[in-house]
């Protein structure tokens, strides 16, 4: 993915201090909150899955600049999909905020080596941006809650259009352009 990464290891974990420590605590806490929100929304839980999620979160604490975080996101999402049946539950906001905190703390932990001291400006900017995407989640939930109860007939065209829109957005989000050369692809950039 990116060769410009700081060395991370269990030994370096012992050197974490200050904001770096707070970020790692946030990784664990946000995962627990996300699992808790799923539990509260579903009314029951599968302990084995929760243990797996927590184990993956622990790995993220040691390796914030890794793809383990993606696994956490996907497992939490899959658990939500399977367990929760209330489509307009406000607990989805809690789970989304937890995922936002989890992603932001992991991303923030990867910009600086573990023992580096964060400046106030860095902290302020990361908090500001995290609050912005959390606010977007609340907005999405408000839209979902508003349209909840309107039962529309399923439309293959609408589904296909949605998938095409998502794919196009994904292609654009990959590099900020739709005609990126092969050197921009993830597979290439991992060299």
């Amino acid at each position: 993915m990116n060769d410009a990464r700081f060395p991370d290891s269990w030994w370096l974990l012992s050197r974490v201090r200050g904001v770096g420590l707070v970020l790692r605590v946030l990784m664990l806490a946000s995962t627990v909150v996300a699992v808790g929100c799923t539990w509260l929304a579903a009314g029951h839980t599968v302990p084995v899955v929760n243990v797996v999620i927590f184990g993956l979160a622990l790995a993220c604490v040691a390796l914030p600049d890794s793809h383990v975080g993606l696994l956490v996101v996907l497992v939490v999402g899959a658990e939500w999909l399977v367990m929760v049946h209330d489509r307009a539950t406000p607990w989805s906001v809690g789970a989304a905020v937890s995922l936002a905190v989890f992603h932001a703390s992991m991303a923030a932990a990867s910009v600086a080596p573990p023992a580096a001291t964060w400046t106030r400006a860095m902290c302020r900017r990361w908090i500001r941006r995290s609050l912005a995407v959390m606010g977007a989640s609340v907005g999405t939930w408000a839209v979902v809650a508003a349209i909840h109860g309107h039962h529309e007939a399923s439309s293959a065209v609408l589904v296909a259009a949605s998938l095409v829109a998502i794919s196009t957005a994904g292609l654009w989000a990959r590099d900020g352009t739709l005609d990126a050369g092969p050197h921009h692809k993830f597979a290439k950039s991992s060299k």
Binding site: N2, S92, A107, I166, A169, G170, F186
Partner: protein, 434 residues
């Protein structure tokens, strides 16, 4: 490589993008709008990162405040980052740990928000703890864009730099008068009276005295001519002869234990500084891994700096190649101050040889007092060390009997007694001259 190729997507961007899109696809396929709520922050972060993706490669340069410092003194290592586009958010730097370099922050890691803090805080205090040519770096400098979505490690001037740490001279002062030298110019008071500037006495006029020396007040009072006599001035030529063939003992740098070479160099620096400050000519000769290194005699603080730089470049010899011969170019009438741990008989032999050539030699014993060579697994190491020390004592006694003073280095005033004796007995050669 194109500038934009420097900016590669990170794992954080992959997580936001793939996680968000997969949740969105699942939401569409499973008709679960609540999953879109979960996907929103991730998709938002990914879109944000892409919109603010930098296209220009930032220019990185790192520098050291001072290229030459004394050991124990601190200087600053600074990273300068220029981002013409203004899209770089955070910059972090890690300075690789190297031997005999202390870093502050201790882990050598700093991070700043480039736009808000600038690159001023992207600096680190570095402090060489031992003399020598020290490597600083290399450094890893990483710039990140918004949401840590893209990252770049500019291949700028981040290679290792060299910091020369000069030996920190010990405290030293000598109040002893200079050893008699044949010259009649210089800044030191000669033990002889003659033409000079420093007042010696008022004495009756003698044929040959200059008229401008007549002391008229005394002459009128006594009725006979009196003249003012002065001490002659002369210069001093000091040769520092450093034996760097051995480096015995553990060195913890300026703040801890000192090895024999540490003691030798710091003592040599102190002696050189002292004699340079009094205007004497000081030369340097060193026996080390590079053979015999020489620096001709000169005066002034620029010469002192040059001597310290040569000392900082010294490397102890790994194998014994010392022939014990007298170094060339020591000069007539020089005071040779030899600094050595005296573990090799050839070092003492060299002192004897120099004395036999008519030069005054003062040997400074630089073996640390607290040194103790022992191996818990091999009791014979300790015994061998004690035997060697006994032999060394016997050799030093023999050299002393030959008229060469050997004094241990004890800082200020270490050499006073011996220099006073040399001044008193100047001209009387104890060792047989060839």
């Amino acid at each position: 490589m194109k500038p934009e190729d420097c900016w590669r997507p990170t794992t954080a961007h992959a997580r936001a993008l793939l996680g968000g899109l997969l949740l969105a696809v699942a939401a569409v396929l499973a008709r679960r709008p609540d999953l879109l709520v979960l996907a929103t922050p991730l998709v938002g972060a990914a879109a944000w990162a892409v919109m603010l993706r930098p296209r220009c490669m930032p220019q990185v340069n790192h520098s050291i405040g001072h290229g030459v410092v004394r050991e124990g003194e601190a200087t600053t290592w600074h990273v300068e980052v220029r981002d013409p586009e203004g899209r770089v958010d955070d910059v972090a730097a890690v300075l690789e740990a190297t031997t005999w370099i202390d870093r502050q922050p201790v882990d050598g890691q700093v991070a700043v928000s480039l736009r808000d803090d600038g690159d001023e805080p992207l600096s680190m205090v570095i402090r060489p703890t031992r003399w020598g040519s020290r490597r600083v770096g290399p450094a890893l400098v990483v710039a990140s864009s918004a949401w840590a979505g893209f990252r770049c490690a500019p291949k700028g001037e981040t290679n290792a730099r060299t910091l020369v740490a000069l030996p920190q001279p010990s405290r030293f002062d000598a109040s002893a008068p200079p050893v008699r030298t044949p010259g009649l110019v210089g800044v030191n008071r000669s033990p002889r009276q003659g033409s000079g500037t420093e007042f010696a006495s008022i004495r009756p006029f003698q044929p040959g005295d200059r008229l401008r020396r007549i002391h008229w007040a005394q002459s009128l009072r006594t009725g006979t001519l009196h003249v003012t006599s002065t001490w002659a001035d002369h210069d001093r030529h000091v040769v520092l002869l450093i034996d760097a063939l051995n480096d015995v003992g553990e060195s913890d740098g300026i703040d801890g234990r000192a090895s024999s070479l540490d003691v030798s160099l710091r003592a040599a620096g102190a002696i050189a500084e002292h004699y340079i400050s009094t205007g004497d000519r000081v030369a340097l000769a060193m026996t080390s891994a590079r053979g015999m290194q020489r620096l001709p005699p000169a005066t002034g603080y620029r010469h002192l700096r040059r001597m310290l730089e040569v000392m900082a470049s010294i490397e102890p010899a790994t194998e014994f190649t010392d022939d014990g011969r007298m170094p060339r170019g020591l000069g007539q009438g020089a005071l040779v101050v030899m600094l050595s741990p005296l573990l090799s008989p050839t070092a003492l032999q060299r002192a004897v040889t120099i004395t036999e050539h008519g030069l005054t030699v003062l040997v400074v014993d630089c073996l640390p007092a607290d040194i103790n060579q022992s191996d818990p697994d091999d009791p014979y190491v300790g015994i061998a060390w004690r035997i060697r020390l006994l032999e060394r004592e016997r050799e030093i006694r023999r050299v002393g009997e030959a008229g060469i003073a050997v004094v241990p280095w004890r800082g200020p005033g270490s050499l006073d007694v011996v220099l006073r004796d040399l001044h008193r007995h100047a001209g009387v050669r104890m060792a047989r001259r060839r």
